[in-house]
Assembly symmetry: C2
Homo-oligomer: 336 residues x 2
């Protein structure tokens, strides 16, 4: 495709070899600390000096060989799907992992299937993969990671996956708890908000399914999925047709969507909880600030230290200690 | 250190070599597509078949050699520092980059100095580094990246850095705009909220400095830094002592802190904007939902497509097109 520029400034191990007057293989033996090959102390010193002089940074993969392992923990996640709830939690987790000597990267690639995803992650040769959305992992994906030397896969998931150490996280329980609460408050026609924003369907679908299971067990309650975008326009449109919908309760996916919907309902003269009871999720700081203060489902996660310790044990010994799963807890306030 | 477990399942290029009945060097020549070495078509096919059979995933670094470059874009950032404002923007940017064939990773490592950071990033051999906080980069750090073959560094920054292509992003302008507005509304004792949360000082300090510059130019206005944590307790404590502080205007760092402070002030009977005018930043969806609706500073960013195109040009040709910098715009609502 025409003139491909060369990365003129890039220093390679060949440059180090040239300056040190040794073969590239010798450079590799020294920098990767390969014990199988004898390299004299003088040669070793010459290679290290040349690498230093040229500012040669070894590949992470080479460094992992040198140290016996990679120090990279890979988390597959997009930034916005992480959400306000877990962003501080992830920060704390990363600090805990740092104390164990790991560096965390968030991998934002989206893939058509779990094995393609695993292959892309494997290319970075992480020591471990920590998945927030473990339900999209498969045993084939875990196998790809294992063959690439990934020492452990830890995942929040609602079910077991072969080759993956799971921490219980069942989104269906979140939806079920919200629906049970609304039914207990005498609501019969329950809407469940399905965000149109990308990346949230993975969490929204099982929440809806959980609410539907509650309705299926009840003789009186029905559940309806209601699409909404996180915009003033979408919330206003929904609120404008609320009375026609006949919905007397709504589980609004999370507190952000709930706050936006509360405001739009108030603007259209729909009273909360009089006309409709509203339940959010996450118990964000803003939940208690709403008018009326928002009923929500709090998600009690294991502590970052628990997860970091488990990950380290997994990398170190292949078996992590048991980590308590996520527990959803209903926090009742005035919106329901 | 006792029994160090071997990563028994890990497949290496040595396994591929053994199965194919060739040397490890030949495997490397084939998988890295090194043109300098002649490998027969039969041998090449045997190596590829063995790699396939064993499920061998090449290193990202090897793949980058094969393709002539890495496809990795590294963004140094913690998840929570990214904030609500830019998380959707980053998602869109990642989609745009994906269309150019790149994969984005967020690198959460924290380092004592810019060169240590650059060395850690360089180990992953990214094609490019995209820094949201370019003010913490130095020319030495850029040099480390260049020597590791990173083809370009693009950064949001308030000043030029040698070896870095910058997109203007001046947090001082955000603070100055908020302070100018408060002064124009007749406020004289202006508080500037400094979040205690980790990672935000980088953005909060220049915002404070911008407000202080406005006060220094004015004969009548004074600026006071006010620490606050993003908790109900911290906001309530601050609001409880508000009258004693004598502050009649406050720039609350961003809309999240502003919303929390507004609520706490109302609970303590401090009226907004009567007793104190409040200004946020980011113009989040929640800003217009506040009571009173929140005056804020909207940060107009270049589009994700503009930034993705620039990054691709930078990797491809070494020189990106000019990208318009961030423009802060005051959005006046009823809180001031």
């Amino acid at each position: 495709m025409g003139k491909e520029p060369t990365a003129a400034a890039a220093v390679t191990s060949a440059d180090v070899a040239r300056l040190a007057g040794v073969s590239r293989a010798t450079v590799s033996f020294v920098l990767n600390n390969t014990q199988a090959h004898r390299v004299s102390a003088t040669t070793r010193a010459r290679v290290l000096a040349a690498a230093q002089q040229l500012g040669y940074v070894p590949h992470a993969a080479a460094r992992s060989l040198r140290a016996g392992r990679s120090n990279l923990v890979l988390m597959p996640a997009s930034v916005s799907a992480v959400g306000s709830l877990v962003s501080a939690w992830i920060d704390d987790l990363q600090s805990e992992l740092e104390q164990h000597g790991y560096v965390t990267v968030l991998h934002a690639g989206r893939f058509s299937d779990p094995v393609s995803a695993a292959r892309a992650w494997a290319e970075l040769r992480p020591a471990a993969v920590l998945a927030l959305d473990g339900d999209s992992l498969t045993d084939q994906a875990a196998d790809v990671l294992g063959r690439a030397g990934v020492r452990g896969v830890l995942a929040f998931a609602s079910h077991d996956v072969k080759g993956v150490h799971t921490i219980g996280f069942d989104h269906a329980r979140v939806g079920a708890l919200a629906a049970e609460h609304l039914v207990s408050r005498g609501r019969r026609n329950i809407g469940v908000i399905m965000p149109r924003e990308r990346g949230l369907a993975t969490f929204a679908r099982p929440r809806l399914a959980g609410a539907q299971q509650v309705a299926a067990r009840s003789t009186a309650a029905a559940v309806t999925a209601v699409e909404m975008s996180y915009t003033h326009e979408s919330a206003a449109e929904l609120a404008g047709h609320w009375r026609e919908s006949g919905l007397d309760g709504v589980f609004a996916y999370n507190d952000d969507y709930a706050a936006l919907l509360l405001h739009a309902l108030r603007n259209k003269g729909v009273t909360v909880p009089g006309d409709v009871a509203v339940v959010g999720a996450d118990d964000l700081v803003l939940a208690a600030l709403q008018q009326p203060p928002l009923t929500t489902v709090r998600l009690d996660l294991p502590t970052p230290a628990q997860v970091a310790d488990a990950l380290h044990e997994l990398v170190d010994r292949g078996v992590p200690p048991e980590v308590p799963g996520m527990e959803p807890v209903l926090v009742h306030r005035q919106s329901s």
